[in-house]
């Protein structure tokens, strides 16, 4: 069934959808226009966050205007987006560091310890070689 949307609701929802669409479009344009992978990474991590955010606000306003209740799903979606966006960005950045850059093309890390991504034998977690625990004992040193 269709709900009737009051005029104020119609205007607000439209405004948010248009703004969100514009930002998503700009994010995609940036993906095409910017010169290399690491700068391209900037466009989708930011512009798209606000694009999706706008759609979610429009959705909340729509539910409130038609059914008169506050829908909270959207807040959860926003939260998960904000949690996951930096992680995928970091993964793409790491790939770029390994394929297109060397430690020489990057600024020096302080104390000249190097960056964790290049220090395969260094203290970074997960890459250090840990001897297999003795059978029957539990290893606690990581």
């Amino acid at each position: 069934m269709t709900h009737d949307l009051p005029l104020w609701g119609e205007i607000t929802v439209t405004v948010f959808l248009i703004v969100a669409g514009l930002f998503a479009l700009v994010g995609s344009i940036g993906l095409v226009k910017l010169p290399d992978p690491i700068t391209r990474l900037h466009a989708p991590t930011k512009a798209t966050t606000l694009g999706v955010g706008g759609v979610l606000i429009a959705s909340m306003v729509y539910v409130f205007a038609t059914e008169g209740r506050v829908s909270m799903h959207e807040l959860l979606i926003t939260l998960f987006l904000l949690l996951t966006a930096p992680i995928s960005a970091l993964f793409i950045a790491k790939v770029h560091l390994h394929l297109r850059e060397t430690p020489d093309t990057l600024p020096e890390a302080p104390d000249s310890v190097g960056w964790a991504g290049y220090a395969a034998d260094g203290p970074a977690r997960g890459v250090r070689e840990v001897p297999p625990p003795e059978p029957g004992t539990t290893s606690t040193s990581i």
Binding site: V26, H42, L50, A93, P107, V113, G117
Partner: protein, 163 residues
């Protein structure tokens, strides 16, 4: 006694709220189930967080969330303007090293995530001893300004939040 049945009050609260948001309506049924989840999951997952982070100022954390949300909106507009109106040859991308004063892994994670979400910067790597982050800026004619903004606006607040 409390620590045995409620080892991580903040996690329990988060689980209850997240479940209520998922169900999307407030009824006694869903509230009871949310409380059960909030009690059982922290007890079962206890071995996975041997040293749990402590918040010194939970209310500062709320202030931090709003500062970051505001900056995300600002960052979006700035990046959109750069993408649309700045020719590629005028772009000044830069690698910037930000020395860290915060030491707890949770605070560094929060800072790195914030840097990625806010004005024209993506955090790319951590120094091998964890004392600095490497970030990439889309357009930074003056890298020192970017570094100082990050340290003053975000790191100072995180240092107050995490004990």
């Amino acid at each position: 006694m409390l620590s045995r049945f409620l080892p991580h009050p903040l996690l329990s609260l988060t689980l209850v709220v997240a479940w209520m948001l998922l169900v999307n309506q407030i009824t006694v049924n869903s509230l009871v189930f949310a409380v059960i989840l909030g009690l059982v999951i922290p007890v079962i997952t206890r071995p996975y967080w041997p040293d749990m982070p402590r918040l010194r100022h939970p209310f500062r954390a709320i202030e931090y969330v709003f500062v970051v949300l505001y900056d995300i909106v600002k960052a979006n507009i700035e990046v959109a303007l750069i993408v649309l109106f700045k020719p590629n040859r005028d772009l000044r991308p830069a690698w910037i090293t930000v020395p860290l004063d915060v030491r707890s892994p949770e605070a560094i994670t929060m800072l790195a995530g914030t840097i990625t979400l806010t004005p024209g910067t993506v955090s790319c790597d951590l120094a091998a001893n964890g004392h600095a982050v490497l970030i990439h800026a889309l357009h930074a004619p003056d890298p020192d300004v970017v570094r100082d903004t990050i340290k003053q606006r975000y790191e100072r607040r995180l240092k107050e939040i995490f004990a």
